[in-house]
Symmetry: C2
Subunit: 355 residues, 2 copies
Amino acid sequence: MKIAVLPGDGIGTEIVAEAIKVLDALDLPFEMESALVGGTAFEAHGHPLPESTLKLAKEADAILFGAVGDWKYDKLDRPLRPEQAILGLRKNLGLFANFRPAICYEQLVGASSLKPELIAGLDILIIRELTGDIYFGQPRGRRVAADGHFPGAEEAFDTMRYSKPEIERIAHVAFQAARKRSKRVTSVDKANVLETFQFWKDVMTEVGQQYPDVALDHMYVDNAAMQLVKAPKAFDVIVTGNMFGDILSDEASMLTGSIGMLPSASLNAKNQGLYEPSHGSAPDIAGKGVANPLATILSAAMMLRFSLNQEAAAQRIETAVQSVLGQGLRTPDIFSAGTTKVGTAEMGDAVVKAL
Amino acid sequence: MKIAVLPGDGIGTEIVAEAIKVLDALDLPFEMESALVGGTAFEAHGHPLPESTLKLAKEADAILFGAVGDWKYDKLDRPLRPEQAILGLRKNLGLFANFRPAICYEQLVGASSLKPELIAGLDILIIRELTGDIYFGQPRGRRVAADGHFPGAEEAFDTMRYSKPEIERIAHVAFQAARKRSKRVTSVDKANVLETFQFWKDVMTEVGQQYPDVALDHMYVDNAAMQLVKAPKAFDVIVTGNMFGDILSDEASMLTGSIGMLPSASLNAKNQGLYEPSHGSAPDIAGKGVANPLATILSAAMMLRFSLNQEAAAQRIETAVQSVLGQGLRTPDIFSAGTTKVGTAEMGDAVVKAL
Ligand SMILES: CC(C)[C@H](C(=O)O)[C@@H](O)C(=O)O
Ligand SMILES: CC(C)[C@H](C(=O)O)[C@@H](O)C(=O)O
């Protein structure tokens, strides 16, 4: 079980260290190797995703990723910015299936912006296609407009696209995931405006016929953004494209109020996966020992489940996290009166102890 | 003052009737003419935006629009579906500047999904570009993929694009609107991934230099979707493209919990405008006399302000709406214990009385 460890920037190092503590405590035969990624890799090697890091990632069964990015890299040319490392890994490893659970932990209901009755018990799974859509579509760039409102003016453009097999494979992922849950899939599109998403809807419907036991419905993305606020618990599995998924998965995770708790997994066809917390690199609190490591620890659990075939170990970690929450331990981001404030390392230690 | 009245489908007829009641009560020299639009126009003329309706709209100073759409038209070919009428009006009249206020009325704080302290006093203005972006970009369609993950497969595609003058003109609208408010503009983009929105950000920054008194900041769309949930009151004016604006303006209006109260305006360079409620045609309650006419009545107020140069009359309507809320009158969508439930027509009558 080869794990590439890419802590990245900001709080990445701190939170990944805690996840490794937890993995070590499982006493399983992992082979772990670390490499630089993001801004720190740019500083050392002149590129956010150096060849050596990419090679390590490709040869691993799974990647444990922290976070990348810092305001100080904002002025760099786009191809050199930290987040290009994430896009590069997704593309080079073909990580097309992104799993973003939005779960509201019983003990953290109060952290949500939403009224408790709307959010308590929330358990949605957003499945975002991650290697297609307007993120990677060619052509893109700048040019002189040939037509439109201002022919002759300078314009910039991008191409949104999805091919049938790309939609089919993410559809299968969604329907199969729904089978293990409440057997409901909401496919989010903008078929009323976009050719790409009329096609998406058509293909989803077609694939859905192979899953007569799973209920499929379709929703426009603007409506989905509303319904997530109005009645988030009405959703079970949401499947959508790369761009809409970027927006909706972040909206959904913020609904819980405890994004510091939410893991994610990005898988390819061989179940190789990249596992990272749903939150960012939080440069403002980096190095202070206050970041919440639980999302990264729970990402490690997803890694055990999806890429390393260690379901029992995954469940041990998840139970241990539940248990530290039950003990009232909280990093500052999820702290509330009556609970015990702890730092990053203490939280990691507590999870190890609870194992 | 020529007003084209396009009630449309579903509850459109009922809510527009109340707005007209209110306009009539102002005793101003309006010339109003009605026409069919949307599904009802398709049934009568075979097209959701008949030539005669478009002509009427073009020749008017302003359009008072109800809503379009019904499940029963879902099976029609896309060009014949009701929502194409809206897209056609926007395009043909060049209505590039969409104003979508998200206001939380003091008396309706309880209707929100959000905790009262997060939403009370909310007053955001979302300015959405409405005639560009991937909504209208060419080429678009289906074809055989020449490259990408599955060359040779069937694919669908769309083109996202913005030209410099298109971004400039919506930027000016946003900065000028901000000058009348708290002088803060948040431009929402996805510059870390899209060429179109790197350009958007560059041009916004450039235009911003002409407004040194207005603070401009930039935010990625995924982060904006989160911050709207976390701390909506941190925003003042948000300016963004057509697609992101579609999603964020709906999310923001649902945050208030009372979308039945929210008007909208879509203007062109000559201040001709289309005015419509932010909500849809609600076919499930059509004809029952229970729809909330206030968003449409407030849209008529915006019409008086922006297109008809009748600021005093606009304010009279807005004050009257505040007053009926103060009297405790509520349509079912905003009803809560201790208030008085009224129907569509009663609500319109109450506004007239309060004028
Ligand atoms: C950093 C950025 C390119 C990335 C994306 O848009 O996919 C991020 O927002 C995410 O969701 O992982
Ligand atoms: C009906 C649809 C085409 C339209 C849009 O996407 O613009 C609607 O959602 C809106 O926001 O007015």
